[in-house]
Symmetry: C2
Protein backbone atom coordinates (compact mmCIF):
# COMPACT_ATOMS: atom_id res chain seq x y z
CA UNK A 1 0.00 0.00 0.00
CA UNK A 2 2.94 2.35 0.41
CA UNK A 3 6.31 0.88 -0.66
CA UNK A 4 8.03 -2.11 -2.22
CA UNK A 5 8.73 -5.65 -1.25
CA UNK A 6 11.34 -5.54 1.56
CA UNK A 7 8.75 -3.72 3.69
CA UNK A 8 8.95 -0.01 4.28
CA UNK A 9 8.11 -0.40 7.94
CA UNK A 10 11.08 -2.64 8.57
CA UNK A 11 13.56 -0.07 7.27
CA UNK A 12 12.31 2.68 9.55
CA UNK A 13 14.48 3.99 12.35
CA UNK A 14 13.26 4.14 15.90
CA UNK A 15 12.63 7.89 15.68
CA UNK A 16 10.76 7.49 12.43
CA UNK A 17 8.48 4.91 13.90
CA UNK A 18 7.84 7.08 16.92
CA UNK A 19 7.04 10.13 14.81
CA UNK A 20 4.81 8.20 12.45
CA UNK A 21 2.91 6.90 15.42
CA UNK A 22 2.64 10.37 16.94
CA UNK A 23 1.28 11.69 13.66
CA UNK A 24 -1.24 8.90 13.33
CA UNK A 25 -2.35 9.45 16.90
CA UNK A 26 -2.77 13.18 16.33
CA UNK A 27 -4.55 12.56 13.04
CA UNK A 28 -6.92 10.15 14.74
CA UNK A 29 -7.75 12.85 17.25
CA UNK A 30 -8.50 15.42 14.58
CA UNK A 31 -10.11 13.28 11.87
CA UNK A 32 -12.39 11.56 14.38
CA UNK A 33 -13.73 14.90 15.47
CA UNK A 34 -13.99 16.83 12.22
CA UNK A 35 -14.06 14.21 9.49
CA UNK A 36 -11.69 14.18 6.55
CA UNK A 37 -12.62 17.48 5.02
CA UNK A 38 -13.07 19.28 8.29
CA UNK A 39 -9.61 18.33 9.52
CA UNK A 40 -6.57 20.39 8.60
CA UNK A 41 -2.95 19.37 8.28
CA UNK A 42 -2.01 22.35 10.44
CA UNK A 43 -4.17 21.07 13.25
CA UNK A 44 -2.75 17.57 13.01
CA UNK A 45 0.80 18.88 12.93
CA UNK A 46 0.23 21.05 15.95
CA UNK A 47 -1.39 18.22 17.88
CA UNK A 48 1.53 15.99 16.96
CA UNK A 49 4.02 18.67 18.00
CA UNK A 50 5.62 18.84 14.58
CA UNK A 51 5.90 21.47 11.91
CA UNK A 52 3.63 21.08 8.94
CA UNK A 53 6.42 20.40 6.44
CA UNK A 54 7.97 17.92 8.78
CA UNK A 55 4.69 16.08 9.04
CA UNK A 56 4.48 16.01 5.27
CA UNK A 57 7.92 14.48 5.21
CA UNK A 58 6.42 11.39 6.86
CA UNK A 59 3.20 11.29 4.91
CA UNK A 60 2.94 12.50 1.35
CA UNK A 61 -0.46 14.09 1.87
CA UNK A 62 -3.43 14.53 4.14
CA UNK A 63 -5.10 11.83 2.12
CA UNK A 64 -2.21 9.45 2.84
CA UNK A 65 -2.48 9.97 6.58
CA UNK A 66 -6.17 9.27 6.49
CA UNK A 67 -5.68 6.15 4.40
CA UNK A 68 -3.09 4.78 6.79
CA UNK A 69 -5.45 5.38 9.67
CA UNK A 70 -8.41 3.76 7.98
CA UNK A 71 -6.39 0.74 6.88
CA UNK A 72 -5.13 0.24 10.40
CA UNK A 73 -8.64 0.68 11.78
CA UNK A 74 -10.41 -1.80 9.55
CA UNK A 75 -8.01 -4.55 10.58
CA UNK A 76 -8.90 -4.26 14.25
CA UNK A 77 -12.51 -3.29 13.67
CA UNK A 78 -13.58 -6.72 12.48
CA UNK A 79 -11.65 -8.69 15.08
CA UNK A 80 -14.35 -8.86 17.79
CA UNK A 81 -16.92 -10.31 15.41
CA UNK A 82 -14.34 -12.70 14.01
CA UNK A 83 -13.91 -14.13 17.49
CA UNK A 84 -17.54 -15.25 17.69
CA UNK A 85 -17.17 -19.00 18.16
CA UNK A 86 -19.74 -21.27 16.49
CA UNK A 87 -18.79 -24.01 18.96
CA UNK A 88 -19.42 -21.97 22.10
CA UNK A 89 -22.58 -21.46 24.09
CA UNK A 90 -24.81 -19.26 21.90
CA UNK A 91 -26.02 -16.78 24.49
CA UNK A 92 -22.64 -16.47 26.18
CA UNK A 93 -20.86 -16.09 22.86
CA UNK A 94 -23.12 -13.25 21.81
CA UNK A 95 -22.93 -11.56 25.20
CA UNK A 96 -19.16 -11.80 25.08
CA UNK A 97 -19.26 -10.16 21.67
CA UNK A 98 -21.37 -7.34 23.08
CA UNK A 99 -18.88 -6.90 25.89
CA UNK A 100 -15.92 -6.82 23.50
CA UNK A 101 -17.62 -4.21 21.34
CA UNK A 102 -18.48 -2.10 24.37
CA UNK A 103 -14.90 -2.40 25.61
CA UNK A 104 -13.72 -1.13 22.25
CA UNK A 105 -16.14 1.77 22.43
CA UNK A 106 -14.79 2.67 25.86
CA UNK A 107 -11.11 2.15 25.11
CA UNK A 108 -11.04 3.38 21.52
CA UNK A 109 -13.75 6.02 21.19
CA UNK A 110 -11.76 7.99 18.64
CA UNK A 111 -11.52 4.98 16.36
CA UNK A 112 -15.26 4.55 16.68
CA UNK A 113 -15.86 8.17 15.75
CA UNK A 114 -13.44 8.00 12.86
CA UNK A 115 -15.45 5.11 11.53
CA UNK A 116 -18.74 6.90 12.18
CA UNK A 117 -17.52 9.98 10.35
CA UNK A 118 -16.48 7.91 7.40
CA UNK A 119 -19.89 6.22 7.20
CA UNK A 120 -21.77 9.49 7.65
CA UNK A 121 -19.91 10.88 4.67
CA UNK A 122 -21.10 8.01 2.56
CA UNK A 123 -18.14 5.70 3.20
CA UNK A 124 -16.25 6.87 0.09
CA UNK A 125 -13.00 5.29 1.19
CA UNK A 126 -14.25 2.05 2.70
CA UNK A 127 -17.26 1.10 0.62
CA UNK A 128 -15.28 -1.72 -0.94
CA UNK A 129 -14.44 -3.16 2.46
CA UNK A 130 -18.06 -2.86 3.61
CA UNK A 131 -19.36 -4.70 0.58
CA UNK A 132 -16.47 -7.15 0.60
CA UNK A 133 -14.82 -8.32 3.79
CA UNK A 134 -17.38 -6.92 6.18
CA UNK A 135 -20.40 -8.29 4.35
CA UNK A 136 -18.72 -11.69 3.99
CA UNK A 137 -17.88 -11.80 7.68
CA UNK A 138 -21.35 -10.72 8.75
CA UNK A 139 -23.03 -13.19 6.39
CA UNK A 140 -20.84 -15.92 7.82
CA UNK A 141 -21.63 -15.13 11.44
CA UNK A 142 -25.28 -14.49 10.63
CA UNK A 143 -25.45 -18.06 9.37
CA UNK A 144 -24.04 -19.27 12.68
CA UNK A 145 -26.62 -17.27 14.60
CA UNK A 146 -29.40 -18.51 12.32
CA UNK A 147 -28.32 -22.08 13.01
CA UNK A 148 -28.42 -21.46 16.76
CA UNK A 149 -31.92 -20.05 16.35
CA UNK A 150 -33.11 -23.02 14.28
CA UNK A 151 -31.76 -25.31 16.98
CA UNK A 152 -33.88 -23.40 19.50
CA UNK A 153 -30.82 -22.36 21.49
CA UNK A 154 -31.57 -18.65 21.13
CA UNK A 155 -34.63 -16.65 20.10
CA UNK A 156 -35.44 -16.62 16.42
CA UNK A 157 -34.43 -13.12 15.34
CA UNK A 158 -33.15 -11.79 12.02
CA UNK A 159 -29.39 -12.32 12.48
CA UNK A 160 -28.23 -9.33 10.45
CA UNK A 161 -30.39 -6.94 12.40
CA UNK A 162 -29.32 -8.55 15.63
CA UNK A 163 -25.73 -7.75 14.70
CA UNK A 164 -26.71 -4.22 13.71
CA UNK A 165 -28.34 -3.77 17.09
CA UNK A 166 -25.13 -4.77 18.83
CA UNK A 167 -23.17 -2.27 16.76
CA UNK A 168 -25.70 0.49 17.30
CA UNK A 169 -26.00 0.04 21.04
CA UNK A 170 -22.30 -0.26 21.79
CA UNK A 171 -21.00 2.38 19.41
CA UNK A 172 -23.63 4.82 20.60
CA UNK A 173 -21.78 5.14 23.89
CA UNK A 174 -18.61 6.18 22.07
CA UNK A 175 -20.03 8.25 19.23
CA UNK A 176 -22.67 10.07 21.27
CA UNK A 177 -20.62 10.21 24.45
CA UNK A 178 -21.10 13.94 25.01
CA UNK A 179 -24.86 13.60 24.65
CA UNK A 180 -24.99 10.62 27.00
CA UNK A 181 -23.01 12.50 29.62
CA UNK A 182 -25.00 15.70 29.15
CA UNK A 183 -28.28 13.87 29.67
CA UNK A 184 -27.14 11.66 32.53
CA UNK A 185 -25.54 14.58 34.32
CA UNK A 186 -22.56 14.29 36.65
CA UNK A 187 -21.96 11.35 38.93
CA UNK A 188 -22.49 8.67 36.31
CA UNK A 189 -20.18 6.16 34.68
CA UNK A 190 -21.88 5.66 31.31
CA UNK A 191 -19.85 2.66 30.26
CA UNK A 192 -20.20 0.58 33.39
CA UNK A 193 -23.92 1.33 33.46
CA UNK A 194 -24.10 0.42 29.79
CA UNK A 195 -22.32 -2.86 30.43
CA UNK A 196 -24.91 -3.95 32.96
CA UNK A 197 -27.80 -2.66 30.89
CA UNK A 198 -26.72 -4.27 27.64
CA UNK A 199 -26.01 -7.56 29.36
CA UNK A 200 -29.58 -7.63 30.68
CA UNK A 201 -31.00 -6.42 27.37
CA UNK A 202 -29.39 -9.07 25.24
CA UNK A 203 -29.84 -11.83 27.78
CA UNK A 204 -33.55 -11.16 27.77
CA UNK A 205 -33.74 -10.66 24.02
CA UNK A 206 -31.87 -13.83 23.17
CA UNK A 207 -33.74 -16.10 25.54
CA UNK A 208 -35.52 -18.71 23.40
CA UNK A 209 -39.31 -18.66 23.32
CA UNK A 210 -39.57 -22.10 24.93
CA UNK A 211 -36.75 -22.69 27.36
CA UNK A 212 -34.77 -25.85 26.69
CA UNK A 213 -34.20 -26.15 30.39
CA UNK A 214 -36.32 -24.08 32.77
CA UNK A 215 -37.76 -23.59 36.18
Amino acid sequence: MEDDAPSAAARRSRIQKRNRQMILDAALEVFSQFGFRGATVDQIAETAGLSKPNLLYYFASKEAIHRALIDQLMQTWLAPLHALDPGGDPVEELLAYVRRKLDMARDFPRESRLFANEILQGAPRIMAVLQGDLKALVDDKAAVIAAWARAGRIADLPPHHLIFSIWALTQHYADFDVQVRAVLGPGHDPFSEAEAFLDRLFRKLLAPAEPASGR
Copy 2:
Protein backbone atom coordinates in the same frame (compact mmCIF):
# COMPACT_ATOMS: atom_id res chain seq x y z
CA MET B 1 -32.51 34.83 17.18
CA GLU B 2 -32.24 36.76 13.93
CA ASP B 3 -34.30 39.97 13.83
CA ASP B 4 -36.54 42.24 15.85
CA ALA B 5 -39.99 42.07 17.28
CA PRO B 6 -42.44 42.24 14.34
CA SER B 7 -40.97 38.92 13.15
CA ALA B 8 -38.56 38.83 10.26
CA ALA B 9 -40.26 35.80 8.78
CA ALA B 10 -43.59 37.59 8.46
CA ARG B 11 -42.10 40.36 6.35
CA ARG B 12 -40.56 38.04 3.80
CA SER B 13 -41.88 37.85 0.28
CA ARG B 14 -42.89 34.59 -1.30
CA ILE B 15 -39.68 34.38 -3.33
CA GLN B 16 -37.60 35.11 -0.27
CA LYS B 17 -39.23 32.34 1.67
CA ARG B 18 -38.77 29.96 -1.21
CA ASN B 19 -35.09 30.83 -1.60
CA ARG B 20 -34.44 30.65 2.12
CA GLN B 21 -36.00 27.22 2.15
CA MET B 22 -33.98 26.10 -0.86
CA ILE B 23 -30.81 27.27 0.84
CA LEU B 24 -31.66 25.52 4.09
CA ASP B 25 -32.46 22.36 2.19
CA ALA B 26 -29.17 22.50 0.30
CA ALA B 27 -27.30 23.31 3.49
CA LEU B 28 -28.89 20.34 5.21
CA GLU B 29 -27.69 18.12 2.40
CA VAL B 30 -24.12 19.37 2.66
CA PHE B 31 -23.74 19.88 6.41
CA SER B 32 -25.26 16.49 7.17
CA GLN B 33 -22.66 14.81 5.02
CA PHE B 34 -19.52 16.78 5.78
CA GLY B 35 -20.16 18.48 9.10
CA PHE B 36 -19.81 22.19 9.70
CA ARG B 37 -16.16 22.56 8.89
CA GLY B 38 -16.16 20.12 6.02
CA ALA B 39 -19.00 21.90 4.25
CA THR B 40 -18.30 24.84 1.95
CA VAL B 41 -20.51 27.76 1.08
CA ASP B 42 -19.73 27.15 -2.58
CA GLN B 43 -21.08 23.64 -2.36
CA ILE B 44 -24.24 24.78 -0.61
CA ALA B 45 -24.79 27.55 -3.15
CA GLU B 46 -24.32 25.17 -6.06
CA THR B 47 -26.68 22.62 -4.54
CA ALA B 48 -29.23 25.38 -3.99
CA GLY B 49 -28.78 26.62 -7.55
CA LEU B 50 -27.68 30.07 -6.45
CA SER B 51 -24.52 32.06 -6.72
CA LYS B 52 -22.40 32.34 -3.62
CA PRO B 53 -22.98 36.08 -3.12
CA ASN B 54 -26.68 35.62 -3.64
CA LEU B 55 -26.74 32.95 -0.97
CA LEU B 56 -24.91 35.29 1.35
CA TYR B 57 -27.56 37.88 0.68
CA TYR B 58 -30.02 35.61 2.48
CA PHE B 59 -27.75 34.45 5.27
CA ALA B 60 -25.02 36.62 6.67
CA SER B 61 -22.56 33.76 7.03
CA LYS B 62 -22.00 30.04 6.87
CA GLU B 63 -22.38 30.03 10.62
CA ALA B 64 -25.80 31.69 10.33
CA ILE B 65 -27.07 29.04 7.93
CA HIS B 66 -25.94 26.30 10.26
CA ARG B 67 -27.51 27.96 13.26
CA ALA B 68 -30.84 28.34 11.47
CA LEU B 69 -30.72 24.67 10.55
CA ILE B 70 -29.85 23.51 14.05
CA ASP B 71 -32.49 25.69 15.68
CA GLN B 72 -35.11 24.32 13.33
CA LEU B 73 -33.90 20.79 13.96
CA MET B 74 -33.92 20.87 17.74
CA GLN B 75 -37.55 21.94 17.77
CA THR B 76 -38.71 18.87 15.87
CA TRP B 77 -36.12 16.55 17.33
CA LEU B 78 -37.65 16.47 20.79
CA ALA B 79 -41.26 16.18 19.62
CA PRO B 80 -41.50 12.37 19.49
CA LEU B 81 -40.32 11.96 23.07
CA HIS B 82 -42.58 14.78 24.19
CA ALA B 83 -45.54 12.82 22.90
CA LEU B 84 -44.90 9.92 25.28
CA ASP B 85 -48.12 9.84 27.27
CA PRO B 86 -47.89 8.94 30.98
CA GLY B 87 -51.57 8.01 30.87
CA GLY B 88 -51.30 5.51 28.03
CA ASP B 89 -50.49 1.83 28.07
CA PRO B 90 -46.78 1.61 28.98
CA VAL B 91 -45.64 -0.96 26.44
CA GLU B 92 -47.69 0.50 23.62
CA GLU B 93 -46.58 4.03 24.43
CA LEU B 94 -42.92 3.05 24.29
CA LEU B 95 -43.37 1.01 21.13
CA ALA B 96 -45.15 3.94 19.53
CA TYR B 97 -42.20 6.12 20.48
CA VAL B 98 -39.83 3.65 18.85
CA ARG B 99 -41.96 3.71 15.71
CA ARG B 100 -42.04 7.50 15.62
CA LYS B 101 -38.28 7.68 15.98
CA LEU B 102 -37.78 5.09 13.27
CA ASP B 103 -40.17 6.97 11.00
CA MET B 104 -38.10 10.09 11.55
CA ALA B 105 -34.92 8.19 10.72
CA ARG B 106 -36.51 6.98 7.48
CA ASP B 107 -38.15 10.25 6.47
CA PHE B 108 -35.50 12.67 7.71
CA PRO B 109 -32.16 10.89 7.50
CA ARG B 110 -30.31 14.11 6.72
CA GLU B 111 -31.59 15.71 9.90
CA SER B 112 -30.42 12.67 11.82
CA ARG B 113 -26.97 12.89 10.27
CA LEU B 114 -26.77 16.62 10.89
CA PHE B 115 -27.42 15.91 14.53
CA ALA B 116 -24.94 13.03 14.58
CA ASN B 117 -22.26 15.21 13.03
CA GLU B 118 -22.85 17.89 15.59
CA ILE B 119 -22.53 15.41 18.46
CA LEU B 120 -19.45 13.76 16.97
CA GLN B 121 -17.77 17.14 16.89
CA GLY B 122 -18.41 17.56 20.58
CA ALA B 123 -21.77 19.35 20.27
CA PRO B 124 -20.20 22.83 20.40
CA ARG B 125 -23.37 24.54 19.20
CA ILE B 126 -25.99 22.53 21.06
CA MET B 127 -24.37 21.61 24.34
CA ALA B 128 -26.63 24.08 26.14
CA VAL B 129 -29.73 22.44 24.70
CA LEU B 130 -28.47 18.97 25.60
CA GLN B 131 -27.81 19.94 29.18
CA GLY B 132 -30.94 22.06 29.38
CA ASP B 133 -34.11 21.20 27.48
CA LEU B 134 -33.07 17.72 26.42
CA LYS B 135 -31.91 16.61 29.86
CA ALA B 136 -35.03 18.05 31.47
CA LEU B 137 -37.28 16.28 28.99
CA VAL B 138 -35.46 12.97 29.34
CA ASP B 139 -35.43 13.20 33.14
CA ASP B 140 -39.15 13.87 33.04
CA LYS B 141 -39.96 10.93 30.80
CA ALA B 142 -37.49 8.71 32.64
CA ALA B 143 -39.51 9.35 35.79
CA VAL B 144 -42.64 8.22 33.96
CA ILE B 145 -40.92 5.05 32.81
CA ALA B 146 -39.55 4.42 36.28
CA ALA B 147 -43.05 4.72 37.70
CA TRP B 148 -44.34 2.21 35.16
CA ALA B 149 -41.56 -0.15 36.18
CA ARG B 150 -42.29 0.26 39.90
CA ALA B 151 -45.92 -0.55 39.18
CA GLY B 152 -44.79 -3.75 37.50
CA ARG B 153 -46.30 -2.73 34.18
CA ILE B 154 -42.98 -2.99 32.32
CA ALA B 155 -39.63 -4.59 33.08
CA ASP B 156 -37.47 -2.80 35.60
CA LEU B 157 -34.73 -1.28 33.45
CA PRO B 158 -32.66 1.90 33.89
CA PRO B 159 -34.93 4.43 32.13
CA HIS B 160 -32.19 6.69 30.80
CA HIS B 161 -30.39 3.83 29.16
CA LEU B 162 -33.64 2.49 27.81
CA ILE B 163 -34.16 5.83 26.08
CA PHE B 164 -30.57 5.80 24.82
CA SER B 165 -31.17 2.37 23.38
CA ILE B 166 -34.17 3.64 21.45
CA TRP B 167 -32.15 6.51 20.07
CA ALA B 168 -29.21 4.30 19.18
CA LEU B 169 -31.24 1.61 17.45
CA THR B 170 -33.44 3.91 15.41
CA GLN B 171 -30.86 6.51 14.43
CA HIS B 172 -28.44 3.79 13.42
CA TYR B 173 -30.61 3.03 10.40
CA ALA B 174 -30.35 6.65 9.25
CA ASP B 175 -26.78 7.47 10.22
CA PHE B 176 -25.23 4.18 9.12
CA ASP B 177 -27.56 3.65 6.21
CA VAL B 178 -24.81 2.99 3.68
CA GLN B 179 -23.24 0.36 5.92
CA VAL B 180 -26.57 -1.32 6.58
CA ARG B 181 -27.29 -1.50 2.87
CA ALA B 182 -23.77 -2.63 2.00
CA VAL B 183 -23.97 -5.48 4.50
CA LEU B 184 -27.53 -6.55 3.73
CA GLY B 185 -26.90 -6.44 0.01
CA PRO B 186 -29.56 -5.72 -2.61
CA GLY B 187 -33.18 -6.81 -2.29
CA HIS B 188 -33.67 -5.56 1.24
CA ASP B 189 -35.79 -2.78 2.71
CA PRO B 190 -33.80 -1.88 5.83
CA PHE B 191 -36.44 0.29 7.40
CA SER B 192 -39.36 -2.05 7.12
CA GLU B 193 -37.20 -4.90 8.39
CA ALA B 194 -36.04 -2.66 11.21
CA GLU B 195 -39.59 -1.80 12.12
CA ALA B 196 -40.54 -5.43 12.61
CA PHE B 197 -37.28 -6.24 14.39
CA LEU B 198 -37.39 -3.32 16.80
CA ASP B 199 -41.01 -3.97 17.60
CA ARG B 200 -40.14 -7.51 18.61
CA LEU B 201 -37.00 -6.42 20.42
CA PHE B 202 -38.68 -3.86 22.63
CA ARG B 203 -41.80 -5.92 23.17
CA LYS B 204 -39.66 -8.71 24.55
CA LEU B 205 -37.38 -6.38 26.48
CA LEU B 206 -40.19 -4.47 28.13
CA ALA B 207 -42.27 -7.47 29.14
CA PRO B 208 -42.42 -7.47 32.96
CA ALA B 209 -40.74 -10.30 34.83
CA GLU B 210 -44.05 -11.55 36.25
CA PRO B 211 -46.91 -10.89 33.88
CA ALA B 212 -49.79 -8.92 35.40
CA SER B 213 -52.25 -10.70 33.16
CA GLY B 214 -51.26 -13.81 31.24
CA ARG B 215 -51.64 -17.42 30.66
